[in-house]
Amino acid sequence: MRKQLSMLLCIAMLSISSFAQTRQVSGQIKDEKGQPIPYATIKLKGAKGATSADQNGNFKIEVTGAKPSLLVTAAGFDASELAVGENGSVGVVLKSQSSMNEVVVTALGIKRNKNVLPYAAQQISGDQVSATRSNNFVTSLSGKISGLEVRQGNAMGASTNVVIRGAKSFLSSNQALFVIDGVPVDNSNNNSANKSTTTSNDQTSGRGGYDYGNAAADINPDDIESITVLKGAASTALYGSRAANGVVMITTKKSKRGLGIVVNTGVTVGKIDKSTFTKYQKEYGAGYQQGGYSTTASGSPNTSFWWKDAFGTGSNSLIVPTTEDASYGARFDPNLMVYHWDSFDSTSAFYKKQKPWVGADNDPVSFYETAIATNNSVFVDGGNDQASFKMGYTRTDERGVLPNSRLLKNLLNFGATYKVNDKLTLAGNINFSKIDGRGRYGTGYSKYNVNQAFRQWWETNVDVQELKDAYNRTGQNITWNWADPTKPSGLYPIYTDNPYFIRNKNYETDSRYRYFGNASVNYNVNSWLNVLGRVSLDSYDELEEERIAVGSVAVPSYSRFNRTFREFNYDLMASVNKDLNPSLNLKAVAGMNLRRNYVNSIYAITNGGLVVPDLYFLGNSVSPISAPTESDDKIFVDGYYANATLTYKELLSLDVSGRYDHSSTLPANNNTYFYPSISGSFNFSKLLPNATWLSSGKLRANYAEVGNSAPFSKLKDVYDKPTVFGNATLFSLPNTKNNPNLKPERTKSAEIGLEMAFFQNRFGLDVTYYDTKSVDQIFPVAVSTATGYSNKYVNAGTIRNRGVELSVFATPIKTKDFSWTINLNFTSNRNKVLALYDSSKNLQINQSSLQGGVSINATLGEPYGTIQGKTWNRYQPTGEKLVGANGYYSITSTTNNVIGNINPDWIGGIYNTFKYKNLSLGFLIDVRKGGDVFSLDLYYGMATGLYPETVGNNDLGNPKRAPLASGGGLIVPGVTADGKANTKRVDNTSYGYYGYVYNPAAAFVYDASYVKLRELNFTYSFPQSLISKTKVFKGIDLSVIGRNLWIIHKNLPYSDPEENLSAGNVQGYQSGAYPTTRSLGVNLKMKF
């Protein structure tokens, strides 16, 4: 309290002193090369209001007080504070900031000047990710950093795939390491694939389950000061093995003197982008074929319907074939009265009533609701000479586009430093987060996912709003997909539940309580030697519960997955910063890091159903439950590292580092490994002081190796333990053979880069070429199962990644009131599988099989991530598609044909910012060129006749779906065995022509390119003149924020090419894809 009083007193003193006498000061602002800087802002310290310099950097300002000082700020330059002398004129020299003099946070939190940094490191400010108020800041990195590929799924809270410079590992994670203030934090993807031994619940194979998101999203975005992406091995070597995939370094905010309060409050609404969802044909309804549902002997007037005794009246009538989850049935006819699914629902107004045979008024698009998210945060910081603190709280509450979906995040962080004396500083911070999910979206080909039916197996006559009413009336699984509605025992769903029942009854819930933080002691031994000791903890406990309600198609069940994660890091690091002579500076670091990881989990599921409906605990199992699946993994790594950087006159720098690791997961005789890096930079602009057009220029080159150890317990074999069979105890060999002879794997990388800025930093670029080879990888190679195993752990294989990264910034227009800046990022990566194991030519990346007969593979001599499946047989002389004697395409029987490649040719982002006085407009165009995606939705949905392509007229002008005899049918484009154009007309009255039945998987591989308007941010900052009158606020910004507003271009019909099943190595595959949510929000940011 006493301190608060003294603070208030200080503030009071300051305001009193401002009544002193005034005088005018003038001056000119120039850069380091003597060029005038236009339109800088000059402010008298402690006073309100500011003035601007003119085009030539000249300014005048009234100053008061005994020792007045000026704060000079200009975009692209370091802020400067200078005391005003007795005379009325000052010269101000600002250091350019935007590329070279920037301070970059590098590995282990070491700050380096960018002008001598010998490797690629791109930094963006926290505002650039927090401004969009996305509840997963990781998604906001897309398009803003070169070399970084971000893929985000469309499900609420979906995990984000973050890969830097291409996939390097065959089967292990290729995700970047996230580091906060020098301490690694876990970014596990805890989707269903990672917890169960059953493949039926394998989320990454597209067989269902939920995407629980990734743990890096637990960081409070409002606490982020800056994000630096360290791309190559040279920059990350000090982090050791785990950083082989690059590092996303997050630096949290530092407290400022005095008390600062920032409050954000905002709301966002979202609607689905209809261009990314199924468009339904409106001509034909339920059935797999026209005709054939009732024998002609039954006297049915229309054999595209069932001809049955619907209500035991003794007479037959036409009934919609409710079991047929396709739309290749009867042509709609408003004059035809038939019994629909709801005619058999005793609670329906149409019970026992016929309705016209017409298409649905409300197709599944109407299932999607308006998403609403609120975002509130408060951030307080403060400090004085001795101590400082910060405290932040963010709460986001998101309700997704699906009914009964909610994701609530509470993020709280606190940090404090205390300077005991000039030498010793103590610091600590703690982050607490609580993530609660309910009704996350089911993914893939599963009953959890409403899109499996909507996109693949659906009757276009079914009105979704009527399904909603049916569910709301009864709370039961009243559905369109009756097994046989004409008898009471058949009134249950055969394949597909009512989608409202799925969302409301078969929901998941999850929670994650997380604590991470560290305590550190920093001791300045003398002016050039500093010792840091730090203990950090990342710890979370999570619970995921999944339910299938009694009454569902699937066996009712309840499962729970408890997982705890603990990581301790103990760091001791000594750093030296000494000018050996006036022109030679030495920076050196030596230290050790002890890492201790403990992850344990337990997964249990009921067996054989649930006894009491709507009651979800393991004891409610019909049959005794099988033993839960347990894990208890421990990974310990002791690392010792040293690094030295010699800098000569800020002109040349040489950087050498080495790290020695001792890992618990490798064989005792081979569990230590050393890896070095060497880097250099040449700041050639220092040699050209007279080239005024050249603001800065630097050439850099480096080479580095990174070693890596094995996953937990891959040396010794253990047995699987199936459930006891009667009285027989069962054990089984596992499917993967471990290997006691593993050795460390290695990534070797080389990089060369050029950074230049011109015309007072109005224009600049940073271009990098890199070449990375990952060799001797530790992974479970797929083997012939005739060995008795599916996989065996080995050291094998080489993947090469080569690529170019380019970042360009420009300020084409800059006047007093208006400016336009552009930031462009471009990445082109080429990867190639150079070696696999032994004679194998292919490694399947998806560990359990994907629907549709396709696989994602590492194929020898091809890029990592080929899509393989059946393709067309070709007429060899011309390469045209071959049509068989039956009039349909001739298709390979082999499934190992390369039919696509998941890697884009290049990705890029352009961020434009326009500022006019207090208004600013920024928008990001995010581009991906090339790469392929397989659509299971179209593979099946085209076969079942949902899409508009399957109806309309044929080349003769007759309805395609008319019988051949009536001039319907189609001619498959292609040539017959004799090389002549196919002329055989084939039937299209039953399912299949456009879909999987008569076409190979290759027909459903699409170009995944897109151009998206990813972000739009329109901000109005209330003028200082207005703010100052309030006496309360220091600033108020009102923003309108849009995300994913417009997909400007794409080649994948009816879906978003970016949508995926989950983060991970299995990309380029869509099943039950979710539409993009366009979101628009407003945010009010208030500074106090």
């Binding site: 097994a483 347990e630 009667g726 012939s784």
Partner: protein, 475 residues
């Protein structure tokens, strides 16, 4: 200064707790040792599952042999075995989930405790018999397969062996196993022997019956071998249905019969009776008809057209007996053996009795097994279209047709016997997507991973096609 040292020292002490980190890599939530019998039980269970299953991703022979067909999803009755990668699943289930565990059981036996050396010898023979059984299924399905180089984790891409040579070796092994079985010693514990409850005598009968089956399988290409093996096994093989190698499922998940999972638990309506079988049973007034099937909604036994789209309610479907949770699986039964004896006599082998008597025994045993009475059987056998003397065609047609009926619900065995006896002739399905599978093509993984040996094997058998015949299928 001292104060700071204390701070650093206390931090260092936090880190110094673990000295030797190498010992922390052991798995503590799984067993690193196991009793050999548990692997035997698991292997037999997996074998029974794959042979019993009606899952369209694994066991589709009920469909290709036109015992059953499908309602909506017609890929498999139309011979599409690729879309679901069925050969891969079948192959992997047999090698990885059956053979590997049997091998591990045999590896563990010598060093295991709790059994006498004599009991261990019996257990080893039993595990080997099941390996022989499993390899015969693999050869009958694919032709040449990895054998001498298989099941070796240091040879990850094994070469294939000639199918006939494998069969020859299987006979040798089986003879050695029969010789090794000693009724004076125990076998596996009653609870772990999931077929015969620890009865060694039953295993001797089983091994001899298996020998007879394998001998008859190669009868068309190696009559001499078939003759000697059948004659040696005849009196020691199954003498009644009591000897059947039955695999008993439980009325509780997950140890239930997998047919229940597919047909009842799933609530799906995928499978119905195929018209060929239903028409035949109707024509013969076969007493097994109401036990094989339940009628359609109009209480009539009608079969659907294979490969066409069929409406579930209009057709007969599998009887509730078959879809019961605890309906047993069958590895080898007296019915088959009696048909083999009848056939052996027709081939001129020296087997006691007459072909007609064994034929009658087989049919009678089948009718009794399915719930009929001896009166039913007598009446049925009196039907001139059934009676051995008067039924149509050659002995191959007579036995083939009745065996195809009797092996109902045992898709794999039906497939193998029908390929061998060539009767009955199956009409083409409605919209064939490929050739009738004379064999399964090799798994796609073998093409991708074991490419060189795959290519050699494909060449050796005359092309990796579904139409290529297995070595014993010469007619």
């Amino acid at each position: 200064m001292k104060k700071y040292l204390i701070i650093f020292a206390s931090m260092a002490s936090l880190a110094a707790c673990t000295k030797n980190i190498d010992s922390y890599n052991d798995q503590t939530k799984a067993a690193s040792s196991a009793p050999p019998a548990t692997l035997f039980s698991n292997a037999v269970r997996n074998l029974a599952d794959v042979l019993t299953s009606s899952n369209v991703n694994t066991n589709i022979f009920r469909l290709t042999e036109q015992h059953w067909t499908t309602t909506t999803y017609t890929d498999e009755p139309n011979f599409d075995i690729y879309t679901r990668n069925i050969p891969q699943t079948w192959w992997t289930n047999l090698y990885r989930d059956v053979l590997a565990d049997l091998k591990e059981c045999k590896r563990l036996l010598p060093t295991s405790t709790g059994a006498t050396p004599g009991a261990k010898a019996n257990q080893n023979a039993m595990a080997d018999i099941m390996q022989v059984y499993t390899y015969s299924v693999l050869v009958n399905t694919f032709g040449n397969v990895p054998y001498t180089k298989a099941l070796d984790y240091d040879n990850l891409f094994p070469a294939y062996d000639d199918a006939k040579t494998i069969y020859d070796d299987l006979f040798t092994r089986l003879d050695a196993d029969i010789a090794a079985l000693n009724t004076a010693e125990k076998g596996f514990d009653a609870s772990q022997d999931v077929v015969y409850g620890g009865n060694v005598s039953s295993w001797i009968k089983f091994a001899n019956s298996l020998k007879m089956r394998m001998a008859m399988t190669v009868a068309d290409v190696n009559a001499a071998k078939a003759k000697s093996a059948v004659e040696a096994a005849d009196t020691k093989a199954f003498g009644s249905a009591v000897d059947n190698a039955v695999f008993k499922y439980f009325a509780i998940t997950p140890n239930n019969n997998p047919i229940w999972t597919d047909l009842v638990q799933s609530k799906r309506q995928d499978f119905i009776a195929a018209n060929l079988l239903v028409d035949k049973l109707n024509a013969l007034s076969d007493p097994r008809l109401p036990n094989y099937f339940k009628p359609n909604d109009s209480k009539v036994y009608v079969g659907g057209t294979p490969g066409a789209t069929n409406t579930f309610s209009l057709f007969a479907k599998a009887n509730d007996k078959i879809t019961a949770m605890d309906f047993p699986g069958m590895l080898l039964d007296y019915v088959e053996i009696e048909f083999y004896r009848a056939e052996a006599i027709e081939r001129g082998f020296s087997v006691a009795g007459t072909a007609a008597a064994h034929y009658n025994n087989a049919i009678t045993a089948s009718i009794l097994y399915w719930g009929g009475t001896t009166t039913d059987a007598t009446l049925y056998l009196a039907n001139p279209a059934v009676a051995y003397a008067t039924a149509a065609g050659t002995w191959k047609q007579k036995i083939g047709t009745q065996k195809w009926i009797a092996l109902y619900n045992r898709g794999y065995e039906t497939w193998t016997e029908r390929r061998r006896l060539d009767f009955p002739v199956l009409p083409a399905p409605a919209a064939p997507k490929g050739d009738y599978p004379n064999r399964f093509t090799y798994p796609s993984n073998e093409q991708n991973l074991n490419n060189q040996h795959y290519a050699e094997a494909a060449k050796a058998i005359g092309g990796d096609k579904a139409s290529t015949k297995v070595f014993w299928d010469v007619n």
